[in-house]
Symmetry: C2
Subunit: 201 residues, 2 copies
DNA sequence: GATTGTGAAGAGCTTCACAGCT
DNA sequence: AGCTGTGAAGCTCTTCACAATC
């Protein structure tokens, strides 16, 4: 999907598996297998119809609808997320911002009045948000996540560098900047000692 | 490594592969294979010595030393990274900040004077930075990454939602917030339709 | 002529299971 | 008795290659 988006508007209406593979770093047969597995089909001799392919990709990932998310934590990371224009473009709607600190509660950030944590159940019920974003210090991450889940969110995006223990019925995706840098250090070390193979993204 | 860190200070000096596996969600034999592959050895009948194991893990990931990184992009994400205290704790040193916009060049951010892009080669040579962090708009990500690589960095951390095409000898790790949210939407959909299995992080 | 969809082959990764060490 | 290190077996994922299709 990113490879298609990065191409921007080309005249061509179709793209073949080899090009898709080159753009995303996988083999052509892999592209065909994967696309077949999500029900996207191409035209032999022609390739995949780009608009239909995008639609199939989006549908396979549950992006055929809008997802509402509440953000907890109006610190540096929270504010960066609020200013991130692509969420809305991709169908993610930050419907509310909450924070514990009285000094930021009541302030306006990117059109949202920051709410106190005591409002969490209320806000989630009223907005119908299904996703929660945890952008608070690690010491508070677990309790904040539990409050969100208790209030009804089905998925949690965790920016705190601390593993969350939540009910198995809640999806959790974590972004840990330190881990990411460690991974980069690891791969950089590998690239140095061994030769190189091309990698994606 | 995260599993060990999360245990905190226990009296026990050793840990066996079964416990490590349970804490990190993999099979005991897998733990032994992986640890053997990085040269960490345990004591039959006893397990792995925890301090030595931590040391071997850190060494295998290239974390036995400090990594210097330059940050390009003093926008929301860049500023959030600058304020992130854990980088320094884990041995990552943000040695310089660069930006294209004349309005921010020269400003002080977290102790660093923002440099213009024209200084990139100079800054990297002078500081000896080996890692580059790309926190610029997607339209500039590719060219900025190429400038960094040309100036000598060996690894790039990319926050722009755009795949980078770089020489195979450069390590690239990407953090794409939109992709992350999309992944959360996908997993949330899966959790709803299927039952649940426990997942890590 | 170009390209898909897909069985079959191949490669790589995971689990098993047990000899050997403490 | 408890646990590691590791060949071998089992399994899954990837690549090959080609008949079918446009």
């Amino acid at each position: 999907m990113r490879a298609l988006q990065a191409r921007g508007e080309t005249e061509r209406s179709h793209i073949n598996s080899r090009e898709l593979g080159e753009a995303s770093g996988v083999a052509d047969a892999q592209v065909r297998k994967d696309l077949a597995s999500i029900g996207a089909t191409g035209q032999p001799g022609v390739g995949y119809a780009i608009p239909e392919l995008m639609e199939d990709l989006r549908a396979s990932m549950g992006l055929h609808r809008t997802w509402k998310a509440v953000l907890v934590g109006a610190g540096n990371i929270g504010r960066a997320l609020l200013a991130y224009p692509r969420f809305a473009e991709e169908g993610f709607d930050l419907v509310a911002v909450l924070d514990r600190a009285p000094s930021v509660v009541g302030r306006k950030l990117a059109g949202h009045t920051v709410q106190p944590m005591s409002a969490v159940a209320d806000v989630i019920r009223r907005t119908g948000a299904e996703l929660g974003i945890v952008a608070v210090p690690p010491s508070e991450a677990q309790i904040v996540a539990e409050m969100l889940v208790h209030a009804g969110v089905r998925g949690v995006l965790n920016f705190a560098p601390r593993p969350l223990r939540l009910s198995g019925s809640v999806a959790v995706v974590a972004v840990d900047f330190t881990e990411t840098l460690e991974r980069l250090a690891f791969e950089t070390t590998m690239k140095r000692s061994l030769g190189s193979r091309s990698r994606d993204t």
